[in-house]
């Protein structure tokens, strides 16, 4: 695609849907698209995107990760910004593409440049665009889990809370251990299912203890892990990606509910 002239009023954003959102829950992708457009961005979804390569990178297959990183760089380089509804995938691009391409100087530089303009959507809205939608309403009690990559690699903590504070009727409750890993860990949860299960069992208990009706977060992988465990426990807590609530989709089906 040809780069178009950029006006600062409407930045061109390449939406990186991420593989989990693509397959499991497109509504998160559409909610992201909607919010970015509301914020005045010109959004495109490059069709050459697949996966950021994190499963390969974290499994030790750095070569495959580097190969996928190059493809991602090519697909998203023309944009002013790259935005993903996931701290984990955005963190992979920002923090780990340069590591995966460390031995290839020209590509490493391109990775650095792409990383500099890559953002997770909630932090992008608050920190980069300064768009906090007002007057959305969702009457519910909610609690928030801070996913680890977003929290520690990208410093995402205040932004989702700033956004959710403006949702009318949404009462947020503190989750004990909100910054403690839920036990998902990408391939970890299927490589070491018993350990992962013990961790998410405790997380689910903490979530239930808040008494909140809704679990919110910024990463579908972690949300699927927690929601799946809550469902197995017979819990009534429902889970959404925060961007869905911000896009007014809180009345629709939660994760694991038929649409």
């Amino acid at each position: 695609m040809e780069p178009r002239p950029v006006t600062s009023a409407s930045p061109r954003v390449g939406l990186f849907v991420t593989c989990l959102v693509d397959a499991m829950r497109p509504s998160i992708g559409f909610a992201t698209l909607q919010l970015l457009e509301e914020a005045g961005c010109q959004v495109e979804v490059p069709t050459a995107q697949t996966c950021c390569g994190q499963p390969a990178f974290n499994s030790g297959d750095t070569k495959a990760a580097a190969r996928l990183a190059r493809r991602m760089i090519e697909a998203f380089e023309p944009f002013d910004y790259v935005v993903a509804p996931s701290g984990s995938c955005a963190g992979m691009i920002k923090a780990h593409f340069p590591e995966a391409l460390a031995s290839d100087e020209p590509w490493r530089k391109r990775a650095e440049a792409l990383g500099a303009k890559t953002h997770e959507v909630l932090s992008f809205l608050v920190d980069v665009i300064g768009y906090i939608p007002k007057g959305r309403s969702f009457a519910a009690t909610g609690t928030y889990h801070d996913s680890c990559s977003g929290l520690r690699e990208l410093g995402i903590h205040a932004q989702p809370r700033a956004l959710l504070r403006e949702v009318v009727g949404l009462e947020m409750r503190k989750l004990e251990g909100n910054d403690v890993c839920c036990g998902f860990g990408g391939t970890f949860c299927v490589k070491y299912p018993a350990i992962s299960n013990a961790v998410v069992e405790e997380k689910a208990a903490s979530i239930e203890k808040t008494g909140a009706e809704i679990l919110l977060g910024g990463d579908l992988g972690c949300l699927m892990n927690m929601a799946g465990k809550l469902s197995r426990r017979g819990s009534r807590v429902r889970a959404f990606h925060a961007i869905e609530v911000l896009a007014g989709l809180g009345q629709g089906p939660a994760i694991g509910e038929e649409g």
Partner: protein, 471 residues
Amino acid sequence: MHRTLEPFKTRTATALVDATLKIAIERTTATAERKRAAALSDFPEFDAARDRGRRIKDHVIANLDHYLIEFERNAKAAGTHVHWAATADDAARIVIELCRAAQAKRVTRVKSMLGEEIGLPHALAEAGIERVETDLAEHIVQLGGDTPSHIIWPSMHRTREQVSEMFRKAHKTPHEEETIEAMVESARRELRDKFLSADVAISGANFLVADTGATCTVTNEGNAELTTTPPRVHIVTAGIEKLVPSTAHAFAMLRLLVRSATGGDITQYTTFHCGPKSPGDRDGPEEFHIVLVDNGRSRMLKEGLKDMLRCIRCGACMNHCVVYRQLGGHAYGGVYPGPLGAVLTPVFEGLEKARDLPHACTLNGRCQEVCPVDIPLPTLLRGWRDRSWREGLEPVSMRAGLGLWAFVAGHPQLYRLASAVAVRVMRLFARGGWIRSMPLASAWTAHRDLPTPSRKTFMELYKEGQRSQGR
């Protein structure tokens, strides 16, 4: 080490069903986490101190040869015998030879993970020398015939109820009241005579001070003083990475170590040992030996694990690790458990034997966040995974599966098709929004439900012109 181990998954399965162990782990680690947080909130300059600590250790590691020579020179000048050990076996052999030369029948030990690393308990037993552990927790470990499960609280895998039972069986005049004070008294009665009648004392060191030749050891029980003062011979074993340039640097590191380990401002006892008893001294050992141990450390320098040599063994990484807090220390199977053990055990025992450890981690980064010297533990663990992949140690099924996935992900059109097919197949197993079991997904569905995927992928819907969810 001299042990045969069950496979990692068996060890973890055993740990995960042990309800008493879970109580013991949670009591200790949750308290440690709370106390550390409180200590840091009273220490606003922590970040600056942490940065300084990191720089001190990096400087020493970059100039290790210089400081080792300086330390040896100053230690010798103070009358200390300095020994060099390239491997764990060398180190243990040197210690045993020194004990034999001293005609030792009984040795007292001050808790030292390096001593565990070089296999001292086993070596002493083989040599027929009685070993008396003087640290209360190590005494419990010795009574239980097992190994430390935490580097700061070695017997954290035991509840106080279990300890009470052990003391009643093993001590000559055990406690009558069921209080912690009475139990400590019981251990004291049991150990006191042994403290005074030992021939050799063996301790570790938290720091080796280059410009004085002294060692620095911290304890909360005072057992380091009592252990090392009466015997004729005192042997210190220490890793070469324990060096600091001066006493002032040791104190800079202590501020980080103690707060990160126990949440205290300072330990009850901070002991410096420098050479044997001088003429006119009323007590102290006649001979003072230091065994400087490499055991893979110089190899770590070369093999991309330099950052790990900053470690001051505070244990904060394990207290804040979700995996450690489920398993405790023994399931790791190495001398050092938790995130630091997952980095170190492959160094000592080989990656092939320990390959599970760097993988059994969610890479959530909390260990690095709490590390007082900012060791990038997740990066180092990922480094081991990279090496494991390159050396062909990963299971064939894993390589094949990931290889196929990576190939598909490298071809966008094929990837779209594969995703579209996958979601449709998965939906065949769905009931009421959830998939409760599905072939090839049992690792997930054994423990939790899997949300039903969308009817069509985002990319399909987008291609059809959909632009928002609520159209």
